[in-house]
Symmetry: C2
Subunit: 210 residues, 2 copies
């Protein structure tokens, strides 16, 4: 790890087809300073899903208790199930000095940024709309109707890119991963993250010139 002190919280969002899942996997594989957040959900586990790895599986009652106790960084309900980000998991890793990455959507990103303005928000996009369409189409797993719905949704999401801190164009997976890494590492040098060091230098200089 190249930094001491508390880790930084980063949110990565992006259009369907932006490759954000691949970028996150590469980031974690290539650098030892990252931890991926694990979400909590009230939906039932699917075959092969592991508690604490895929999700923290909770009952609706347990999830609602977490909401009441303000134990979530953000949450949303989606087709009848809750999804959210437990604070504990994220903050304990940040306290260990790890940079935590959350892959969540727009609304969750905005909830967190409002409460924790130090969070770094990164939006990933394919290099062009044609490319975005091509990637969705190329998967070959979706009907035209689903693709049209995703394009419509991307069109709405595009209105909120300006509320993110950074936009990264994913035209090459290695370049894109490197850029995301540099953005997060750069954030460590923001003066708001160096307050302790600045204070120690100031005190030291006062003694010398005292």
């Amino acid at each position: 790890m190249s930094h001491t002190g508390r880790g930084i919280l980063t949110i990565v969002s992006g259009f369907a087809g932006s490759g954000k899942g691949t970028v996150m996997k590469k980031l974690v594989a290539e650098h030892d300073n990252y931890a991926l957040s694990v979400s909590a959900t009230s939906r039932a586990p699917r075959p092969g899903e592991e508690e604490g790895v895929s999700y923290f599986f909770r009952t609706r009652e347990q999830f609602e208790e977490m909401i009441r106790q303000d134990a979530l960084l953000e949450y949303a309900e989606y087709v009848g199930n809750y999804y959210g980000t437990p604070k504990d998991f994220v903050f304990s890793r940040m306290d260990e000095g790890r940079d935590v990455i959350l892959e969540i959507e727009l609304q969750g990103a905005m909830q967190i940024k409002k409460k924790y303005p130090d969070t770094v928000l990164i939006f990933l996009t394919p290099p062009s709309v044609d490319e975005l369409y091509g990637r969705l189409k190329g998967r070959g797993t979706e009907t035209d109707e689903v693709i049209a719905k995703r394009m419509k949704r991307a069109s709405e999401e595009a209105l909120s890119i300006k509320d993110y801190d950074y936009l990264v164009i994913n035209d090459n997976i290695d370049d894109c991963t490197r850029k995301v890494h540099e953005i997060i590492q750069t954030a460590h040098h923001e003066v708001r993250h160096e307050a302790e060091f600045i204070e120690s230098i100031r005190e030291g200089l006062e003694k010398y010139s005292g």
Copy 2:
């Protein structure tokens, strides 16, 4: 050059002994996207100094005319001579897509940030106060009185580090140069610098989703 579009303006300041001069030279030598700003001054050229390279040499009258015409990004008077940063030189290079770096002090940095909030402000520091003192002492060219004065001044400067965007600790010249480079390249991905691309994506998506 890894980016298209307009270049970014960066100001590098730092304590005496922070190594900022060396970092700037390495940046320019190692990457072709940077241009160093050249200051204007009303002081007389010294032997070996070249017009347009060391400085733009101007008479007091010419300099005051530049002030009246708002042709300077910032300026100050120092022991009877004017020093300032001509806008033309900086803006024309930014328009060519070059990232322009200014090595100036606190007051000038603040003048520019106020008028051009997109400017990236970086402050360089040695890793500790003892190291700072050692570097000033180690030069062997300054009297104890001058060193004491510089330490006193650093003590005042330290109060304003929080007004910069980034702090970089120079404990290794290669690492420090790489970090400054990454900070500037990261700034290209800030959403405020990608407004055109975001608009083009938004328009394209609107067409698709009809």
